[in-house]
Symmetry: C2
Subunit: 459 residues, 2 copies
């Protein structure tokens, strides 16, 4: 915000190569704003401005850049500059960046780290891709229960680095096992000569290092914390996850769910930085699968070719009827998938959901059925377009709509349950997937009802 | 988690009415776990367990319950108990609850608050529904720059209440205007006789009280904070927003976007607590609009009735072709809507997006076109189902697919831009909406291409 208003002035200073003044102005800026400013600058000035920042500020700014920008800077900066930035970065942000890069690049970058930082990076990278281990930072503060509050403050003065959250202090036993968490403000409110022991309640929440990131999000939401300690299988304190990383996980998983629901593989990068061929690949996969399944409609229609030839008027309502099934199905699927993602419903709720959707499906089907009936019968008052048997035709369409909408609602709501039961991601039961399923079955429902109602008249 | 394992034992203790032991056990529990435990108990035991909790713990537990449960308890508990719980609740959580209740109930509950708490609740409720004002808590810590660190600690001991975040201390001038924010741990690391002034850098991030909640989420993400101060138009410090409320806003807006994208109005309550009639109403609206629009397909098909009568085989591919447009359109719409929500693209990027989608649309269309062509020609090798002009038919289907997929991709990606430009929510360009649009236009594309290619043979 501040960045936007004085950016023209900064651009002018850069133009005049008055870098001393630029540096002075930028020293007061937040790294997030600096990253935005640099992204908005013309290409040729980006590295210039980045280079005049003090080392620590440069590293912080680098963390706020998007992956594209980071890659570009890694290429443009010298080896020494890269090493200094990497070593200054917060461990969890560095891991997040390294994860996105191709293997050989990661190896090269790891090489630039100091032995200490390399050890941290390798530890973090050793955990499975979607685990809490990848999310954690090693810069927590751990104290011992025998210490006094005074000792804790001295320890803080020595250990406090970067801007990692220090709002929680963790108490470990002599082996390094986590035994309690205490808020920093409890120490502030305590006497200096009191022991840590006297502040302890021995009740704490922790994350297992092997838990999935989504589980971490759930626990953060449940306990309203800003940071949580991470422990391994033997209860050893191995790291800390902060809420800012949890927000990123949340946005990322929601984006994945939304893209899957839109009928495609989730992108790995933001839309604007995904190369065209990669995006086409991610989209083509599902599109082809859906296309092949949708070919069944041609087969189904072929089966009813005789009926269509005898009563062409039947073909007119095919898109209307099958799309109604798809629409009601995608509503039901959305509701179920999101309720599952938020933990509002679990696998065992399938029967309750089915009962609800049965009711909703019948009601919605009847609403659309009535409208369809009225449409055909009112048109037939003024024209002969639907022939002498318009009433039977209207009846066919109305009954089909109830059946198709009910089927759409039920299959849309049950498909996520089936997918989850089989171990797949429920979000894969996308709107286009449900629509395709409803198209094929909708056709069968429509023509069977037509055969029953119109037998002896049109057919 | 802990809750689940010993719940049978607790159920047994309750059964035996050994409430003293139950109380002792529960005293160590986290309010979030208590809320879960109570929700899992049989109805008749819920109020029993809730009543034995100490007042403060009861209020905290109440905050963690879902709205349904809260309503039930408000009904079942006596006026005095309700008053005590309401007065103990954190101000922002109370506002969130009051917002969801019908007007007369809110008025009755406000009446139960102490004058102080009522003033806070009314202030918070006075801001627009989607503003930062509704989200903020009044329990921030404000200090003056003339104070010493010692003074700040004394102030903290007097003011610290509830579990609100105290990680940031705000510095205000003599009129109460915000002039800086300082981390609590900076005070811990400073000498007791130093002045607040000496810790200040006069650079801070704040939220305007009238800003939209989504804007608050964006700023939290950008600056990685756990709490931010809220100021009014005159720079006066009026509250503080904590990151746990931001996470709730994030989940809520993502849920709304997802439900809208699924082709319905967003629900106000979780899926499981939305009454059936309300859910049907939320879904019927869009379903009817889509149905009425989809009726244009019947009109369009009616226009081509002559062609269908002459070449019934054309009707067989109608669902296949129009659904391909809908599927590619819903992919493009998903990508655009999500990228907009994350701020990756803005209105001014429409031309870049259009260029990308033009490329993607042509490529995807050609992939499906080839498959369609191969399908029809290979079937025709072995059967006579598509007649003597199968090659021309295959060509018609292939060309139509390129046209329809390209149209789907372009309209799916541009519709969110158009909606936003007109001031609507881009997420309203849902998968079913895009599919319907593509159905109608897809039919026209298909039959026009058929007329051109098949003129003189089939038509």
């Amino acid at each position: 915000m501040i960045g936007k208003t004085i950016q023209p002035e900064i651009a002018e200073l850069i133009e005049r190569r008055d870098l001393g003044t630029v540096r002075e102005v930028l020293l007061d800026w937040h790294p997030g704003e600096l990253a935005e400013l640099i992204a908005d600058l013309p290409n040729k000035d980006q590295a210039v401005v980045f280079r005049i920042l003090p080392r620590h500020l440069a590293a912080d700014t680098f963390e706020y850049m998007d992956l594209d920008m980071q890659m570009q800077f890694l290429k443009e900066l010298g080896q020494k500059e890269v090493a200094s930035i990497l070593n200054e970065m917060a461990a969890d942000d560095r891991t997040a960046m390294l994860e996105e890069l191709p293997g050989p690049v990661v190896a090269k970058l790891l090489d630039l780290l100091t032995p200490d930082e390399r050890k941290i990076a390798q530890t973090l990278l050793g955990y499975p891709e979607d685990s809490v281990g990848r999310l954690m930072s090693p810069y927590y503060i751990a104290v011992r229960m025998e210490w006094t509050v005074q000792n804790v403050f001295e320890h803080l003065r020595n250990k406090a680095r970067h801007n990692e959250a220090l709002d929680m202090i963790y108490v470990v036993d002599e082996k390094g096992r986590l035994i309690d968490d205490i808020k920093l403000h409890s120490f502030v409110l305590a006497q200096l000569d009191h022991s840590v022991d006297s502040l302890m309640d021995r009740s704490f929440i922790s994350l297992p290092v092997s838990a999935r990131k989504e589980e971490a999000v759930r626990i953060f939401r449940k306990y309203d914390r800003t940071a949580l300690p991470v422990i391994d299988a033997q209860q050893y304190l191995v790291g800390m996850v902060t809420v800012d990383d949890v927000i990123d996980v949340l946005e990322e998983t929601d984006t994945e769910d939304i893209q899957k629901f839109g009928g495609m593989e989730a992108l790995e990068l933001p839309y604007t930085s995904t190369p065209l061929w990669q995006m086409v690949r991610k989209r083509a996969g599902w599109l082809v699968v859906l296309f092949l399944s949708e070919m069944l409609t041609a087969t189904a229609m072929g089966y009813f070719e005789g009926e269509i030839a005898r009563a062409v008027v039947l073909a007119l309502f095919v898109p209307l009827i099958i799309s109604s099934g798809g629409n009601s199905g995608s509503q039901a699927a959305t509701l179920t998938i999101r309720a599952m993602a938020l933990g509002e419903i679990t696998l065992s709720d399938w029967w309750n959901v089915m009962k609800r959707e049965l009711g909703a499906g019948v009601l919605l089907g009847m609403i659309l059925g009535c409208i369809g009936f009225l449409r055909i019968s009112s048109w037939s008052m003024f024209s002969d377009i639907y022939g002498p048997h318009w009433l039977l035709l209207a009846l066919t369409v109305a009954i089909s709509l109830v059946g198709v909408v009910l089927w759409g609602t039920l299959s849309g709501s049950m498909l996520p349950f089936i997918l989850r039961r089989l171990g797949f991601d429920p979000a894969a039961s996308s709107a286009p997937f449900v629509a395709t399923l409803c198209d094929v079955t909708g056709l069968v429902i429509y023509f069977v009802i037509a055969a029953l109602v119109l037998h002896g008249t049109l057919l």
